[in-house]
Symmetry: C2
Subunit: 411 residues, 2 copies
């Protein structure tokens, strides 16, 4: 029982030293020391491995690391679409890193977010130091029915999938309920994709470089009433990667490490029919509250935000569920210009899921990579002025899983 008693002593000592910022039980904190992003494209012609490699090699070079102690691959659909699993060994092999512990982590459309969470835990566990987290998804090149069926894997296939409803259809129900309950017109919600498309103009790796207006959104083809084409993120291929390291060694690798102040995951009932109120993602509230507590921050401390706007209404709801607006009032933040890059809450600064693109298993990693770029002042034309803390929200399914990360600039 020696280990036991020393652990107790250790904890008291750590508490005494004041290193308790949400992590009283670990000696470590984690930092991001490098990022990589493949451009998001429909019809990239690249394999899952080629996409992953593009992002991973960029991240490895950015961090300047020669060693990797762990590889975590965020991906949702490789089994269904590519009939390929075992991406951990496959990507380790492609990188010439055979031997390194590697596996895939899946949480539907939040697979990227939960993969970052797995990587952070690996660093905090003390078992691994230099960790690569890469999210990847290849969605183009398949028929619409195939991809539609693939996306429904995020919901309950036997019970809900059997009704014939599509994933977009479920989100359309949310949009309809939200618009009705809070008497918010489509015009207000449509401000979100307009913001994203504007921001993506400055991101060379974004899928769409096209300015759109609210009117364009409202006149675009109907997909699932009330959602129209420009309310919906597209289908694309992409990959993003980050390199994590213990905070206390991070400056060996970079002058601008970014501290992982919180990494949280929360679930909610898997299916929409199981929820008392479909206009709120309870898991967003749970995960973000846990994250604010761990980071000792509050919503007002967040200076840059990346939310999961797979559909326009989800972007608006995120602003509310994460604590930045009251229910029904999220769209006012967008209307007021608060979410612009020069506003008080710059949101989806690289274009978000709508315009940067949403290769599902990669999106959560793109968000974290983009925040890290912002907080290290490396966001180029997408840079917001002097952000100190950033928050990302990655949504799996219809809110059944939500991963939240809070990152902080190092002084």
């Amino acid at each position: 029982m020696a280990a036991n008693s020393s652990a107790t002593h250790g904890r008291q000592i750590i508490k005494h030293l004041g290193q308790s910022k949400g992590r009283a039980l670990t000696l470590r904190e984690a930092a991001i020391i490098g990022v990589g992003r493949a451009p998001v494209k429909s019809g990239s012609g690249k394999s899952v491995t080629e996409l992953f490699m593009e992002a991973a090699i960029e991240a490895i070079n950015d961090a300047g690391v020669s060693r990797l102690d762990g590889i975590y691959v965020g991906n949702m659909m490789s089994g269904f679409l590519q009939h390929q699993e075992h991406l951990g060994s496959m990507m380790a092999t492609a990188l010439g890193r055979e031997g390194v512990p590697a596996y895939k982590v899946e949480g539907a459309c939040a697979s990227g977010g939960v993969a970052v969470n797995a990587g952070v835990k690996a660093v905090l566990s003390g078992l691994e130091e230099i960790v690569l987290v890469g999210g990847v998804e290849k969605m183009s090149g398949y028929s619409t029915p195939e991809v539609t069926k693939g996306l429904m894997m995020a919901e309950d296939r036997p019970r809900v999938g059997a009704t014939g409803v599509s994933f977009v259809g479920l989100n359309a129900m949310i949009a309809r309920a939200y618009m009705h309950k809070y008497q918010v017109p489509h015009e207000a919600i449509a401000g979100f994709p307009v913001l994203c498309h504007k921001n993506a103009l400055d991101n060379p790796k974004a899928q769409f470089h096209k300015n759109i207006t609210v009117d364009d959104v409202l006149k675009s083809p109907l997909v699932a009433d009330p959602l129209r084409l420009f309310d919906c993120s597209g289908i694309g291929d992409g990959a993003a990667a980050v390199i994590l390291a213990p905070l206390d060694t991070a400056r060996k690798f970079t002058d601008t490490p970014v501290r992982v102040a919180a990494s949280t995951v929360a679930t909610d009932a898997l299916s929409l029919y199981q929820r008392p109120d479909v206009t709120v993602f309870e898991a967003s509230r749970t995960a973000s509250q846990r994250a604010y507590t761990a980071a000792h921050l509050k919503p007002a401390d967040i200076s840059v935000l990346e939310v999961h706007d797979a559909f326009s209404v989800l972007g608006i709801m995120a602003l509310e569920d994460l604590g930045f607006a009251r229910k029904g009032e999220g769209s006012m933040l967008v209307k007021d210009g608060a979410c612009e890059r020069d506003g008080r809450l710059p949101t989806n600064t690289f274009g978000g899921l709508k315009a940067r693109g949403h290769p599902v298993g990669a999106s959560g990693v793109y968000q974290v990579a983009e925040l890290a770029l912002q907080l290290s002042n490396k966001a180029d034309k997408c840079q917001v002025p002097n952000p100190s803390a950033g928050l990302s929200q990655s949504v799996g399914g219809i809110g059944g899983t939500i991963a939240v990360h809070i990152l902080e600039r190092m002084e």
Copy 2:
């Protein structure tokens, strides 16, 4: 930089206190405080959720926990066979634990092993205390071509799958190469499934309860030359679960916690054609050496062993690659009776993959659960006399991923 310097101080203090047994960088160690196992069956008629629930509820009740801080689901094929992903939220929902962080972890046939690794990291990270790890796979009820295609997702589908070779075929190549290189006759290798079938007679949850002889193996139908039916594990449905907790709180829940002395994962080149020698699984060596180092143990200290005998030859190779026999001599351990439950290296004491069954994403968790039962003297008729340390080896693909766990009895 306050956190930074206190972390450095903390580490020095911990080192000074001597709590460095392979984990100098964490304040915690992990223990297993409960296990659950669904019976393995072909044609169970149960869904993935039903299988998972059966094992999870048994484990939760065994541990007597009311709280869960994290859920990790090991599974390989749900996307391909059931067209269902998002098992994290799905299982949390089924358990009535919405809110709890949950996601799926995949490493091909080692998905169960790597899920345990993810759970251990979660506990060691300090972010979660009471963690459920459940492995589940439903493989029956599908056509042989479907399951065969599903298993090939563990290899490189574009390059190797395209040749038309099957997963059994690749393992047959290993068997042929092994028999040739070391001049080991099929009779010797066939001793492994005979051992497993004998042990499974005492395991009510095993898939097969049938005594077989070496002659039965050699006369069973040819599957892929030289492998015959009784050289191969079967197709079945199953789920197993363990509850993890910090070691220093484990005795609150059980009088017989089992210490997780090591949890390691190693990869190797994904495909057989990329390996210089197909008669050795290099990742077995790497993962087990890391585990022995972390646990401060050597092969001679292991008193009970669970290896991944998806095919007879893999069981023999495991004995060698994990350090219990020289290359080419693994079968002699079986022949000499060392691997019997009353021998010096009791192996696959509940029947192993061959006879307990191999629902792929569950097998690695069954192994860890079975070791925990042995080390807490709860293995009933499968009990071996006074084991002090157990080792499990879970293999993904053709050795592309290997997870090793070393568990220790608490004095």
